[in-house]
Subunit: 254 residues, 2 copies
């Protein structure tokens, strides 16, 4: 399995390294920024490129992991390549790749990737799609190299998954960040909250999140909420977030 | 160590059982609802009561784990008891207990408790306070029965911790619930998001949350955010939450 990795960000890095680890060959890493291509290429013993004329057009798979709005532009350069062209975006339609003609698909890893932390892809659900049954079969084989948790998911349903992931992951992480900022402002350590954050995430492995909601809003403890809003008096944006989320919890509008 | 447990909710249940497990004796469980008192009393081999005249006034510790707005009322009934009177609330001032005269304190477990899930209190940070050095010493001894992670924290700082915990825990859990609701509406399984939620919480054990923020808002991916808002067209309250949190992430107002 010869793969060209297009992109050098968080997703590209984690996936290229994971493919390498399961025995696939990363033959080239393309990045607009040649220095970034070099770094990931060094990790994967690949050739770094940033000129489309240097692209090896005989690979089995072209893995696109660039910003969503650059996918169409990248696809322009992949017309007529031999292998299957796959993007890894949650939000981008399969048809964005139709410009390559045929053999195009999606392999969306439902996970958050930061360069500083290893992720075990074997435990990550992978959502796949293909322009034909034949392509889907190819994408499935490629996906199964990384994880057994492979599901065929249409563009429409993948976009819903991605939206849900923004709520569950991106927004939660931002709440951790706000929480950390509140503590820091009062010279309190974020470490104190770490067991609580771990337990909150742990709980929903076995219970529906709405069934284990705790805190002043779900208890209808208006006095405590008033105190909290007073403590946030100098942060109107935090007050607004506190109000809208408390209101949403109280309304139980699920 | 003889303890009277006042309350029968999530916190009362977890703490009474944990005290029992480390060899303390729960002599009575008070609850406004006698049936609830009976249930927790059965777990802890205690006497269930719901009449203040039945209160044993000779215990070493009166542990108050009731709704915040009921703490002052409970304290009224504890005037002149022999032992130390302790509330477990994050948001309630130590002085709310001053009505009992002396020997009153706070033991606030920085954790989320649901009856359906066991919690290892040994890993939970406990924030303590006392009306005098002597009481503080007593509260400290009691707290150390449960966990080595005991810190003396003033009412003011405890209230900040509690506020930060609402952001990091209660609000995050609600985002999980919203995410689950979005998926359910489209017949998609919440299970698919569980590895992502686990990883999001895991990441911040070793990295500052703001440094590992991912998603369309931090990337400035306006097209994807527009698509997400369109998908939420029939849920104005979810749209509002999406907008306010994305704006907060983009402004990086930490």
């Amino acid at each position: 399995m010869k793969i060209v990795c297009i992109g050098s960000g968080n997703v590209a890095t984690h996936m290229a390294i994971a493919f390498k680890e399961v025995g696939a060959e990363i033959i080239q890493v393309w990045s607009q920024n040649f220095r970034n291509a070099e770094i990931l290429a060094a990790f994967t013993q690949a050739q770094p490129i940033n000129n489309w004329n240097d692209l090896d057009r005989t690979a089995d798979c072209y893995l696109i992991a660039v910003k969503d709005d650059a996918i169409a532009m990248v696809a322009e350069h992949l017309k007529g390549v031999k292998g299957v062209v796959i993007h890894t975006s949650g939000a981008t339609a399969l048809q964005t790749l139709s410009i390559v003609g045929h053999r195009y698909g999606v392999l969306y890893p439902l996970q958050t990737f930061s360069k500083s932390k290893a992720v075990d892809l074997k435990q990550v659900p992978l959502c796949i799609e293909g322009d034909s049954a034949e392509t889907l079969e190819k994408v499935s084989v490629i996906a199964h190299l990384l994880s057994p948790l492979v599901s065929v998911v249409s563009t429409e349903r993948r976009q819903i998954l991605h939206l849900a992931a923004v709520f569950a992951c991106n927004f939660s992480n931002h709440l951790y960040a706000l929480s950390s900022a509140i503590l820091e402002q009062h010279q309190l350590k974020f470490d104190l909250l770490k067991p609580l954050i771990a337990e909150t995430a742990e709980k929903i492995k076995s219970s529906a999140p709405s069934s284990v909601q705790t805190g002043p809003a779900v208890r209808g403890d208006d006095e405590t909420m008033k105190k909290h809003l007073a403590l946030l008096d100098e942060s109107p944006s935090l007050q607004a977030i506190y109000k809208i989320l408390s209101k949403s919890i109280k309304s139980n509008n699920l």
